[in-house]
């Protein structure tokens, strides 16, 4: 796999994960201050835009690689979320989370070599 392909895979996943978190924040804002406020609308717009970016990059990747090759890379999103939680929530990660993340990483390395 080329560096370019790996770059697009990572960008596609990152924008998907960030979009999820932004949309979730939008829902929280709407629960407290309703749907007709600029903060809610801008969060929805950013989240949707990021989802769209992720969708089209995936569509570009699917033209070049097997689905069985690309799909396991979605496990990377777990790694992103784990790292974000460690940094943002300043949490001690549980052993279970660390073992899972290591297994996923090892699996992705094997898939990328195949």
């Amino acid at each position: 796999m080329s560096i370019l392909a790996f770059f697009f895979i990572v960008v596609s996943l990152l924008s998907f994960v960030v979009a999820q978190l932004v949309l979730k924040r939008a829902m929280e804002v709407s629960a407290t201050s309703g749907l007709r406020n600029s903060r809610f609308l801008s969060l929805i717009a950013i989240g949707t835009a990021l989802m769209t970016v992720s969708f089209f990059l995936t569509l570009g990747l699917l033209q070049r690689f097997d689905l069985s090759y690309l799909y396991p890379f979605q496990g990377l999103s777990v790694i992103f979320i784990t790292l974000t939680a460690a940094v943002v929530l300043k949490e001690k990660l549980s052993l279970r989370l660390i073992v899972g993340a290591v297994l996923i990483s090892a699996g992705i390395v094997l898939v990328s070599m195949s």
Binding site: L4, F8, Q20, L21, K24, F55, F56, L57, T58, L59, G60, L61, L62, Q63, R64, D66, L67, S68, Y69, Y71, P72, Q74, G75, V78, I81, T82, T84, A85, V88, L89, E91, S94, R96, L97, V99, G100, A101, V102, L103, I104, S105, A106, G107, I108, V109, L110, V111, S112, M113, S114
Partner: protein, 142 residues
């Protein structure tokens, strides 16, 4: 689990509104949309052009449009599911799709999956199964 939660889970609608049925439908929609996207992308693949990395040319395939409809449907039923089933239960269950997609690639798409790739896929699935619950908990707080 709080009493409110328990009550909420006991008051589940039946029939088409049954949240477990909706969860299954949501997973099925995700699964089929993945295969449609792959088929659609292959149909219009134009790997000589650098522009095709943007994937926009994929819109020329009707299969991609069907996939978009299914993605929207899965999203709506997922939101419905979350009204009745706690995310720490629904999310790990929904990840059954991680097993079904590689199997479907092999059975329906006829992709040749080497033993090395199967091993990698298996490790990813085991890892995802381990972290599904803690990840759902973390996502609730992020």
């Amino acid at each position: 689990m709080t009493n409110d939660r328990k009550k909420q889970m006991q008051d589940r609608p039946s029939g088409f509104g049954n949240p477990w049925l909706q969860l299954a439908l949501s997973v099925a929609c995700v699964l089929v949309s993945e295969f449609l996207l792959k088929r659609g992308a292959t149909e219009v693949a134009n790997t000589d052009s650098a522009w095709s990395w943007t994937g926009v040319n994929g819109l020329a395939s009707p299969l991609v449009w069907w996939a978009i409809l299914l993605i929207i449907a899965s999203f709506i039923s997922w939101l419905y599911v979350l009204r009745y089933i706690p995310i720490t239960i629904a999310f790990p269950l929904s990840r059954v799709v991680d097993i079904l997609v590689p199997l479907g690639c092999w059975i329906f798409l006829g992709e040749l999956i080497s033993p090395l790739r199967w091993c990698g896929i298996a490790l990813v699935i085991i890892g995802l199964a381990l972290v599904a619950k803690p990840i759902a908990q973390i996502e609730e707080r992020l």
